[in-house]
Chain length 116, copies 2
């Protein structure tokens, strides 16, 4: 998946959620964050080593997640797919490795669903 396609995915997400998030979509996102291991995976991607949340995309390999958490590779793969399916991240294969990047706009939309 090239960088251009990733950008297209981001635009799609922004387009889908831009008009305002309905309750089902929001619940889906909350569900993606509702498991401790999956939330930790998401936070690892968001607050990645090199990048900040706003300016630069984080790159995070699956192997590191497997080492940090006490769960196996199939489970991590499953969790990453759910995060991607909720629009919270995108994943890209770089050679042998998988790189995950956050899609901050999705979380921003969820925040807008609730006041203050």
């Amino acid at each position: 998946m090239t960088r251009a396609i990733i950008q297209a995915n981001i635009s799609t997400v922004i387009e889908v959620y831009g008009a305002g998030m309905d309750i089902k979509q929001a619940a889906k996102i909350f569900k993606a964050l509702s498991h401790p291991n999956r939330l930790e995976i998401y936070l690892s991607i968001v607050k990645g080593e090199q990048g900040s949340f706003k300016t630069e995309a984080c790159e995070c390999g699956v192997a590191e997640l497997i080492a940090t958490l006490k769960i196996g590779a199939p489970t991590v793969s499953h969790h990453l797919k759910e995060l991607a399916n909720a629009g919270l991240i995108t994943t890209e294969r770089q050679g042998k490795f998988l790189v995950a990047r956050p899609l901050p706009e999705t979380w921003a939309e969820v925040k807008r669903l609730l006041p203050e």
Copy 2:
């Protein structure tokens, strides 16, 4: 449950979460919001008829929720207990009815968990 006790509960929640929310607590809150019906219940309580999120507590009867959603009273009762257990609302019995109020600080803490 008197008003004073409710206030005590609110203070307890603020005290517990004030030091910073860990991942398990946050996942628990996300789980409480991860089901469409339960999220809608929470939103009904938060954006209640009479009060705004910040200034005034919302009061919301269970019967109205049962009428709005297509689920029975036992299920609503179950959902309200989960929301209260996550620290997102408090409930108080007023005569025959149950009144629910949001605890905005809990959601505010969750928002602080993620950047921006």
